[in-house]
């Protein structure tokens, strides 16, 4: 056992501190964080919009006959199809389709990844927000309407703030999933943390150090995210 450890440490040193090998992981990590962060923003905004469309459709039961009702019905249909398709197909396939078909003329790999993961995460976040919105007490919604607030005002000031609190735990999970899911970015040639580790393995013919190092980095970030969300949850509950 001590011999194995010594061997691992030696390999570790030779893999990372030969030339600028460590930069593969450092730069990859930067890409992974970048893609996760911007994808998260897209998922958040787009997810809320999808959730509000679906909930508004359910609450208001609009008629196809008037223009605003027609629009809401149409948007709801689109949102439903979107969520079904995104949740029903593998993210890897979505990434490949975005890269090779839909965004073929876009020559910016990180952006392709950001858009793919963002639009993917939106579908999941929409479902999380929807359940969070629906968990808000019906009585409080009615109280808001009874005071003359319109539907969007009651959403904005009463329902959504409570919905956020309701879905914080599930939301934290989704962010962690998103972060780890970006590890398939290598499929389109984007050198993220996983792909960076992979390149190191090919270059040095030593598999353990790069993979373990990459795994360790993912783990540390996830651990940090878990604590961050626990912290936010506690603060929110005391507010």
């Amino acid at each position: 056992m001590p011999m194995l450890t010594a061997k691992f440490l030696e390999d570790f040193q030779s893999v990372f501190f030969t030339g600028e090998n460590w930069k593969y992981l450092a730069n990859g990590f930067k890409i992974t964080i970048q893609v996760t962060f911007f994808a998260f923003l897209i998922g958040l905004v787009f997810g809320i919009i999808l959730a509000v469309i679906r909930v508004a459709h359910k609450d208001l039961k609009p008629s196809w006959r008037n223009p605003s009702g027609f629009l809401l019905n149409l948007l709801n249909k689109i949102a439903n199809i979107y969520i079904t398709v995104i949740r029903g197909t593998p993210t890897t396939i979505q990434l490949l389709i975005m890269f090779n078909v839909i965004l073929i003329s876009l020559d910016n790999l990180p952006l392709v990844a950001i858009l793919t993961f963002g639009l993917n995460s939106a579908a999941y976040m929409a479902e999380i927000f929807r359940s969070g919105i629906q968990a808000v007490s019906k009585g409080e919604k009615e109280a808001a309407r009874s005071l003359g607030l319109n539907y969007l005002q009651s959403m904005r000031h009463v329902v959504l703030p409570q919905a956020f609190r309701n879905c914080l735990p599930a939301f934290g999970n989704e962010v962690i999933t998103l972060f780890k899911e970006t590890s398939i970015s290598g499929f389109i040639g984007l050198i993220d943390l996983t792909r960076g580790a992979n390149i190191l393995v090919s270059n040095t013919f030593k598999a353990a150090p790069p993979y373990f190092a990459a795994a360790m980095i993912y783990l540390i970030v996830v651990y940090g995210l878990e604590h961050l969300f626990n912290f936010i949850e506690k603060r929110y509950l005391h507010a």
Binding site: S137, G139, E140, E142, A143, A144, R145, S146, L147, G148, L149, N150, Q153, H157, V158, P161, Q162, R165
Partner: protein, 241 residues
Amino acid sequence: MLKVNKLYKDFGDLKVLKNVNLEIKSGEKVVVVGPSGSGKSTLLRCLNLLEQPTSGEIFFEDQEITKPKIDLNLIREQMGMVFQQFNLFSNLNVLDNLILAPLKRDKLKKQEAEERAYNLLNRIDLADKANAYPRQLSGGQQQRIAIIRAMMMDPKVLLFDEPTSALDPEMVGEVLDLMTELAESGMTMIVVSHEMGFAKQVANRIMFMDEGQIVEESYNPADFFENPKEIRTQQFLSKVL
């Protein structure tokens, strides 16, 4: 002020309101009693259109509010509602609960709204709770704040949907006292309630509902409780009194 013509409300196959007609004048205090499931709450919720009537007309100050294309929010502003479960906004503190609607409906400026809020809070001796959140308050305190929240919009009528049914017995008094005070100040009130004492003391008119209809109505509450005319009223009162 309020007029209801041939109001019907179905929930699927269930006919909850069957041809309800009534007229309420400004300043009246109407108490609606009746067994559970008789349609009292549904009637109240139809008045500010939290429930859409199946058919029939409702007039508020000579304006038909059951017509399509009416600005419901403008109507609801003028009809306050107090719920059985208080329904304070749990994400907002007491002060924000009070000023949210007047601000968002452009009824008052922020300073005016806060002033009005503190005036009302002082009236119910809860000014020290302005920054508390609803869950930190007792049921009686929450309900009194719900009542002044409705008052913030300066409504022309207040609808009470069993305002004391969810309260612990020792808190019923403080809520009824506030309601009595409001009644004495001339507020038009429609109250669905099982509080017979309140009905006797405050109501100028009492209605008994059963199976979706107004079965009996009296402008003399004391007499109503002592000499109910309809058999169904007698049966009901013999059970609750």
